[in-house]
């Protein structure tokens, strides 16, 4: 047999070899090593800023295109029927009056016949749509993030934009996706391997210390695998041992986001397949709480295991998502009361994703897990904010449901999410009148300034 050695082939081999080496070195230096030590070069933030500039430009082009054709544009992120302005009562009434009379009204202190407009409009608004405001006004066009999956304004895209979009597609699927998939495999593989190794050590301080470091490192690699740019606020309120950490749930990524900043004991059902392997190896290194499928239904068993874990102060805080399912990150739904019944300190955490970079919400009826992960890995980035709220405990005379609602309200308020507390209003019957009186008081306080000057007839 003759070996055909073409000098050209040789060259190609050498080039390939060099580029692989370079690539892996870069990967190691810029991503894996910082992940191990928990430092950051700031590359991701720079990336985020440049992306934002590009999105702004793209949005302007679309707006221009739409204006030329004199059409209304679709606003993809709203889920309300009407747009509500987040102005206060005083501001709006001033506006109404200013547009009406010629008098110079700097103070809103006199009653005008037109004041009733404001209340009439608000009233009809409530009838039309009572899912309360979104945080940002829905009138402004959300910037287009060059992902066609989130854009409804195709007909306004010019040639330049299409080119840019095509380029973006190439970059995302050609460069970013393989890179991220590699990282993801590295992260998960390391996690499984290292935790199994640590599991061989005897229980003790060294084991705990090592297991924490390993967990953190692997989760950080996973965070970089998704190009998640996370801002943590109020880290002094981070959950401590013997507590329960409670957060709102938007996607399975929430776990990775929280676990890359602190060590938690996870709670969940044992799955088969790859997830099962990961779960089994994780539990070797430090105690997580995994349930068999049959055990999940047994509430007492669940509660008992959770409280046992919580009482042992050497064990890590438990991480729970009480909503039970993924919500689309505009609201916080009913919290299941099980975790609030245990009597431990609750550390609420609010997670809010920035929708400009892609929708992180997992619609499990529409997409499977793998599909979802691929979508996440082929978007530009995942940008989110995490707020650690001060710890809360159940107060005297409060039952689990009220406690759960209190925590939920705190999370919703911090994250700027809608607190969907209303459940038919049967219990709220008494509350209604107080709310009405509050608005009345607000309005009358506004007028009360000139009461003394008013001439009585």
């Amino acid at each position: 047999m003759e070996l055909f050695f073409n000098p050209f082939d040789n060259l190609v081999c050498i080039l390939l070899g060099i580029s692989f080496t370079v690539w892996f070195t870069l990967l190691l230096v810029f991503i894996i090593v910082p992940a191990i030590f928990g430092v950051s070069f700031g590359i991701r933030r720079l990336y985020m800023k440049s992306l934002l500039k590009i999105f702004e430009w793209a949005t302007l082009r679309i707006e221009r295109g739409a204006k030329e054709k004199n059409h209304q544009l679709y606003k993809p992120y709203s889920n309300a029927i009407i747009a509500k302005e987040p102005t206060s009562l005083e501001e709006e009434i001033k506006e109404i009056r200013r547009s009406g009379s010629n008098r110079d009204l700097d103070s809103a202190s006199e009653f005008e016949m037109s004041d009733i407009f404001y209340f009439a409009r608000r009233g009809v608004e409530s009838i039309m749509d009572d899912e309360v405001t979104k945080r940002f006004s829905a009138e402004e066009l959300e910037s287009w993030n060059l992902l066609t999956r989130s854009n409804y304004n195709f007909q306004y895209i010019s040639m330049r934009l299409t080119v840019l979009w095509g380029l973006g597609l190439l970059i995302r699927y050609g460069i970013l996706l393989p890179l991220r998939v590699t990282l993801a495999f590295t992260g998960v593989g390391l996690l499984v391997f290292l935790t199994s190794v640590i599991g061989l050590l005897p229980n003790g301080r060294i084991k705990n210390f090592l297991s924490q470091k390993v967990h953190l490192m692997c989760y950080r690699i996973c965070v970089r695998a998704l190009t998640a740019i996370i801002t943590y606020h109020d880290s002094e309120n981070k959950p401590k041992n013997g507590g329960i950490c409670v957060a709102n749930h938007t996607s399975p990524i929430d776990v990775i986001i929280l676990a890359s900043d602190g060590c938690y004991a996870m709670v969940g059902q044992i799955h088969g397949g790859l997830m099962g392997v990961i779960q089994k190896s994780m539990v070797k290194a430090c105690p997580h709480i995994w349930f068999e499928r049959s055990e999940v239904k047994d509430r007492h068993l669940v509660a008992k295991r959770l409280s046992d874990h919580v009482e042992d102060k050497s064990k890590l805080p438990i991480l729970i998502f009480p909503e039970g399912t993924c919500i689309n990150n505009t609201s916080v739904m009913m919290f299941k009361k099980g975790s609030f019944d245990i009597g431990a300190t609750v550390y609420p955490v609010a997670i809010k994703y920035d929708p400009r970079f892609g929708d992180a919400f997992w619609n499990s009826s529409k997409f499977g897990m793998v599909n979802y992960l691929l979508r996440m890995m082929s978007s530009w980035a995942i940008v989110c904010s995490v707020w650690y709220l001060p710890p809360m405990s159940r107060e005297e005379g409060e039952d689990a449901v009220q406690f759960a609602n209190r925590v939920k309200a705190a999370i919703a308020r911090q994250g700027g999410l809608v607190d969907l507390l209303w459940d038919g209003g049967l219990k709220r019957a008494k509350v209604k009148d107080t709310f009405k009186e509050e608005q009345q008081k607000l309005y009358s306080k506004m007028l009360v300034g000139t009461q003394e000057d008013r001439s009585r007839s």
Partner: protein, 220 residues
């Protein structure tokens, strides 16, 4: 799409013409109507009363009543209904429709007059075409707190002063002993003449399919 689109379009065409809403807006309103009525054909006052967000509006009663007022149906009937169907619901809502991108000056005038008529009807509860002092006092008292900074007497005084102002503007040579009947619609229009209503008294619809995505089993 296709065939079903045109069918629903023809069903709502008449409504679209009468009220000026677009097909998409009418569909959204229909969803909302069904949600409020509990999937029934009609809405009663209790359905509207149960809306939590409406709870903190001081003139809640008047607003709900406005939906059941025959005068707001753009017919010449007067009186009140016990329950309203979808058509009547949309008719009342059309008072708050924003002006389209291109409306002529006459159309704007007509819309303005309708909005003013709506507000007038809210005050004039006995359908006699005139807002008397008693009726006006009632509205003002609802707006102001019964328990807070402004007391009952003060609220009355405010209402009286406002009426006086209307009277002096519209009937300037009224003798001090004359009895001012009440605010007629023309006087009402006069007082609120300069007010720019187009932007203040309308509700901005979002032109987007409002189906929300939910994870897991669909709930609502």
């Amino acid at each position: 799409m296709g065939a079903s689109q045109t069918r629903s379009e023809s069903v709502y065409q008449e409504l679209m013409d009468k009220t000026g809403f677009s097909l998409e807006q009418i569909k959204n309103l229909k969803k909302r109507f069904l949600h409020l009525s509990g999937n029934e054909e009609t809405i009663s006052r209790e359905n509207l009363d149960a809306i939590p967000a409406l709870a903190n509006n001081p003139i809640r009663k008047q607003i709900i009543e406005a939906f059941f007022d025959k005068r707001n149906q753009r017919s010449s009937e007067v009186g009140h209904l016990e329950e309203i169907g979808f058509e009547q619901f949309v008719m009342v809502m059309s008072h708050f429709r924003p002006p389209a991108l291109r409306t002529s000056v006459e159309e704007r005038e007509v819309m303005r007059k309708e909005k003013l008529q709506f507000l007038f009807n809210m005050h004039d509860t006995d359908n006699d075409g005139v807002i008397t002092l008693v009726e006006y006092r009632k509205v003002v008292e609802e707006l102001l707190s019964k328990s807070g900074a402004i007391g009952h007497e003060a609220a009355r005084a405010i209402a009286d002063a406002a009426m006086l102002e209307v009277a002096s503007t519209n009937v300037p040579d009224m003798a001090p002993d004359d009895f001012y009947e009440g605010i007629t619609f023309e006087h009402f229009e006069q007082i609120l003449k300069g007010l720019e209503m187009e932007s203040r008294m309308h509700i901005r619809f979002l032109d987007v399919d409002t189906s929300t995505m939910r994870c897991g089993k669909s709930t609502s």
